[in-house]
Subunit: 128 residues, 2 copies
DNA sequence: CTGAATGCAAAGACTTTGCATCAGC
DNA sequence: GCTGATGCAAAGTCTTTGCATTCAG
């Protein structure tokens, strides 16, 4: 079974790559409908399945109801999402890596959370 | 607008309390259909909304496709889910608390992740 | 009593699937 | 040219909603 890099898959990867964002299925479909007017939602579903199965993209739940998809990078990256204003704050790897190492050591597991999401209340929202 | 502790809401809370588990909407509905045969799924949806809005239960994504619901406890609790065999391993609070404290200090936020889920590969699955 | 919560059925949204056609390789 | 991927439409699943009825306070 040979794998084909089709225009749909390529377009999805490019969109996720260039936008560097977490996108929902519908956002991906909308954004691509300019370039690929006949692109069907079912193809987006199938392509996202394919790409995540093959480790090219990752899936996270950021608390918006549906999963979001993003390009899989070498570097892990992590976010703090404000439960109140939904703002996304970056958590530097230096902050998270020691925690993961600790888990791996104590639990003898390999952590593969490529994108950790922690929920909280941001500074601005705390003040009101 | 007065709040009513109805039999549906009470039954859901009791079920989550006694099972001490993460249950999906359907699991909750099934488990209660013995006690409340006429309980409708739509009531389960509405009740879970209500209970989570009011901080009595929490919602997490454990990677099973649908969210799971559980009783909100004073103590936070955290899990490592094996992406391969789906086994759930507890992460002691002692392991996680310092990490959250670090985030709160550096980001000046309040972390309210009551149930952190980290994905990984467990010891057994690593060996095969 | 009163109005919030429920049951029911219907609508809506989201996701998957079968099959003929298309297009990478 | 093969065969995997796509488009389309239809089916399936999950979730929400309107409305009459029920029941908690």
């Amino acid at each position: 079974m040979t794998v084909r890099m089709t225009s749909a898959r390529k377009a999805i990867l490019e969109e996720l790559e260039s936008s560097k964002a977490h996108l929902t299925i519908n956002q991906i479909h909308e954004r691509l409908s300019g370039r690929l007017p006949s692109l069907n939602v079912s193809t987006v579903y199938r392509s996202l399945d394919f790409l995540s199965q093959n480790g090219l993209i990752s899936i996270s739940d950021m608390g918006v109801g549906t999963p979001v998809y993003e390009i899989m990078k070498e570097e892990t990256h992590h976010h703090l999402v404000c439960s109140s204003c939904k703002q996304v704050i970056e958590l530097e790897n230096d902050l998270v890596a020691p925690f993961f190492e600790q888990i791996e050591k104590e639990k003898k597991t390999k952590v593969i959370t490529n994108h950790l999401v922690v929920f909280g209340i941001c500074l601005e929202c705390k003040e009101y």
